[in-house]
């Protein structure tokens, strides 16, 4: 009775990296491109102290200087190095993007899973709340709330995160409604698993792969929202983000193109990269979902 198919003879530490490599090669080029763009921006933000010696907040006498060897991206009206401000600004923009996306995905996933799994009245109530949030003009409310509670990184993260979970909640709810009728959920119930265990261990991992796509788009959208807030002057001047750099630069749009061009490029590159990555992920997840049976 040998039903087992012949196992690969190579040990796991050899085969695993090879499978990962093969998996990367199967991805659509756009997705790989997106991943590279995102990787570049993340590395730029993380390695900022090694990429430039300049301090993003240090004033200098050389104001509004054109790009040169000393200041590759030029300087602003207060003589601050624009390269340093773009690199360190990436930390702020990406950080706000990641954390607010984490809040919105976490909240959306929890609400969507509970609504989709339990159904009934709980589902009705949660979905009405979700819809109430969804119809809010997101940016307008964000502007009002931030101007009321004051700017600052934490406030921006909270406001953006708390306003953008409904889409995730609805995706997750729909997905969970399908999964809970799968036979493997009945099989887990048959083994004696309770609702919390079913949700956390059997449903959540099946939802997560779908959420990767939504999460990367959420980060992009959160970065855009933050730029919008900063551009309206609601950013935190102590922690300049790309949006804040754009806002400060637009005063000198005609004298110093470098003040807006470089932060703008960084922003565009990141958002484009995240969107391409999201598309690539959704493409590569569609295939396993179909071949599951």
């Amino acid at each position: 009775m040998t039903l087992a198919s012949p196992l690969p003879t190579r040990p796991a530490w050899v085969t695993r990296p090879l499978t990962v490599l093969a998996a990367v090669r199967r991805q659509p080029a756009a997705g790989v491109m997106g991943a590279l763009l995102v990787l570049v921006t993340i590395l730029g933000a993380l390695l900022a102290p090694f990429l430039t010696a300049a301090d993003p907040l240090a004033l200098g006498s050389d104001t509004l200087a054109e790009p040169s060897w000393a200041h590759p991206f030029g300087t602003d009206d207060l003589g601050r190095d624009v390269l340093a401000r773009v690199l360190y600004g990436g930390r702020v923009s990406l950080g706000i993007g990641l954390f607010s996306a984490a809040i919105s995905v976490g909240l959306g996933m929890t609400i969507g899973m509970v609504a989709g799994f339990f159904g009934g009245l709980l589902d009705e109530v949660l979905m009405r709340i979700t819809e109430a949030f969804q119809i809010l003009p997101k940016l307008l409310v964000a502007v009002v709330v931030v101007s009321l509670i004051g700017s600052g990184l934490l406030n921006e993260i909270l406001v953006i995160g708390l306003l953008s979970w409904p889409a995730t909640a609805r995706i997750v709810r729909g997905r969970v409604q399908v999964i809970r009728h799968e036979e493997f959920i009945a099989a887990a119930e048959m083994s004696g698993a309770g609702p919390v265990r079913l949700l956390a261990r059997h449903i959540a991992p099946n939802v997560l792969s779908f959420l990767l796509v939504s999460a990367s788009l959420q980060v992009a959208s959160a970065i855009m929202s933050e730029s919008f807030l900063s551009f309206l002057g609601l950013g935190d001047p102590e922690h300049p983000s790309w949006g804040l750099l754009l806002q400060q630069g637009q005063l000198f749009l005609q004298q110093a193109w470098w003040l807006t061009t470089f932060p703008g490029l960084a922003l565009a590159m990141t958002v484009l990269g995240l969107n391409l990555l999201g598309d690539g992920l959704s493409g590569s997840h569609a295939a396993p979902a179909r071949s599951r049976r």
């Binding site: 009945a186 991992p205 599951r292 049976r293």
Partner: protein, 331 residues
Amino acid sequence: MSAPLLSIRELGVSFPRKEAPSTTVVEGVSFDIMPGEIVGIVGESGSGKSMTARSVLRLLPKSAELSGSIRFRGREIPEMTDEEIRDMRGALVSMVFQDPMTSFNPVLRIGDQIGEAIALHDRARRGRRALRDRVAKLLALVGIADPAERARSYPHEFSGGMRQRALTAMAVANSPALLIADEPTTALDVTVQDQVLSLLRELNENSGTAILLITHNIAVVASLCRRVIVMYAGRVIEDGPTDEVLTAPRHPYTWSLLQSVPRIDQAGTRLTAIKGQPPDPATPLAGCKFHPRCPWAEQRCGEQEPALSPIGEAHGVRCWLPMNGIAAAAQ
């Protein structure tokens, strides 16, 4: 005789509908299962066999309404709290599902899923390593080669037969007193079917697990079960020792069902299909549920429904005009 392990009395399952009589899919089902017994339930699709089985584990759809009594070791299952039923599921009563392809979570390793079934009922709280050893032993028990390595596989890396074996391993992980097998071989090819059936027989012989086998394959019943229950339109219409029921059926439906099974010793003859369709559970039908299709139906068959009444030793039939077994066999 000892006390029955499972005792079902007047079980009913129905789905209420708005502004219409509810759809009844199981009605008046009563039978017992003794410890260590293998009982088969046969019937065509929609005859209520799966619903009966799922009632035992209370795994019915939310909208279903359950009536009657299901006693497991003397305890009423419909009255148990959610916690009690969870303690029972997988530990005392467990189930092998029909489709091994969809019964495993695609994103979790096989071994982890079997391990979970053990850990959920593990009073001794054994550690990870002990759990892993137990999982490997179970996989070895169901005949999976290289069990420790295969436990780390994902479901898609297993073939259909291997998955059905792994599913069986999961179901017997806590040595249940009763195993419900809902068409465990339907999705498998013939050679693997045979292996799964031998596996069930071994389990029954070695650990005394009682098995309730649900199938529409009469050959499977003949090879495995000492007793067989025939269901039609949500009712038990015949219940008796396998050899008696299969060689000398007393209910016209059982007889027709056996006539429609291809037989190698009658090659070349046309199979007799049962005329007509099973009744729609949504529209009430007076009398015996089989009378519109029954060649021997009389007037009273369409007016009053017969009860399941004893006709021999441990043999019951729900018919006004039970067939004379010998005459039927000669026909």
